[in-house]
């Protein structure tokens, strides 16, 4: 595998979607290639950074309104 091909297999690798044979070749290449190792780490760091976008508190007014809706559902369903 060439580095040029490696970069297109990163997600398949991270997803566990490579065949056993391809995964072995992939890992063999990574072990000996600083560039592809750095690229793989960048992909992982990217995923983690994107994950930080989930941190957004719910505005209190919305929470109150929804909780109110939940309460009236409970009141009518029980």
């Amino acid at each position: 595998m060439k580095c040029r091909e490696m970069v297109e297999l990163m997600t398949d690798y991270l997803e566990g979607a490579l065949s056993v044979r391809d995964r072995e070749r992939f890992e063999e290449h990574i072990a000996g290639c600083d560039g592809c190792r750095a690229y793989l780490e960048q992909m992982r760091a990217t995923m983690k950074t994107v994950g930080n976008l989930a941190d957004e508190p719910i505005p209190e007014t919305i929470q109150e309104q929804l909780l109110e809706a939940f309460r009236s559902w409970k009141a009518t369903s029980s």
Binding site: C3, R4, E41, A45, T49, V50, D55, Q65
Partner: protein
């Protein structure tokens, strides 16, 4: 035999909601708000509209909670509701929707490079190695400025790629769940995810350089 729910600990959570447990409800509201907002924004762009979408989704969820059997996780279920409402809203309100989303399928995508070919020599190896981000301080990677860049990069993605990266990497839904929600094959899901992540990686690389 009944199928086991795909659970991330949410089946007891679901039971609590069905019992009308308010603390459990507030807990899921708070935990899912961020991911659901990102998901809605992936479709409708406008924050205010996205907030309306998420709110409407919760109201729908409350109304139909009793009928939900927990065959998918609570998060997947509510994500599906958000997607349906957001898509309907986008169709109704967006005159900005371009046709780019309709052009070029995943098969065409599969063959396109995600890394500038000029970064590799004729032998297919790196001309200049990508920089390690190991020395980038954690505070930089989670800083507001970085997150703003990441948000912008995600917004620039084609809609089909945008929805997948938000579902997978923001909402943390599983590959199978996302394929199912979007009605696409496992392979197409991966192709879209790969292109999305590669584009955001590139934006981060440009920013951190």
């Amino acid at each position: 035999m009944r199928r086991q729910p795909i659970s991330d600990g949410t089946s007891s959570e679901l039971d609590a909601l069905k019992r009308g447990d308010e603390a459990a409800f507030v807990d899921v509201l708070q935990r899912y708000h961020g991911p659901l907002m990102r998901l809605a924004i992936a479709y409708v762009r406008d924050r205010q509209i996205a907030e309306d979408v998420v709110q409407e989704a919760w109201l729908t969820a409350i109304r139909t909670l009793a009928r939900f059997e927990g065959r998918s996780s609570l998060k997947t279920w509510i994500s599906g509701i958000v997607i349906n409402i957001a898509r309907a809203r986008r169709r109704k309100e967006s005159r900005l929707l371009t046709f780019t989303s309709l052009l070029g399928g995943d098969d065409a995508d599969r063959r396109k490079h995600t890394v500038d070919p000029s970064r590799f020599g004729s032998d297919g190896t790196w001309r200049e190695l990508p920089h390690s981000w190991e020395n980038v301080p954690e505070s930089t990677l989670i800083g507001n400025e970085t997150l703003t860049k990441v948000k912008a990069a995600i917004e620039d993605l084609p809609p089909k790629h945008r929805e997948v990266i938000v579902m997978r990497d923001v909402a943390q839904l599983g590959a199978a769940e996302v394929s199912q929600l979007l009605g696409i094959s496992a392979e197409n899901q991966r192709v879209r995810l790969h292109r999305a992540r590669a584009a955001v990686r590139k934006a981060l690389e440009d920013y951190l350089a």
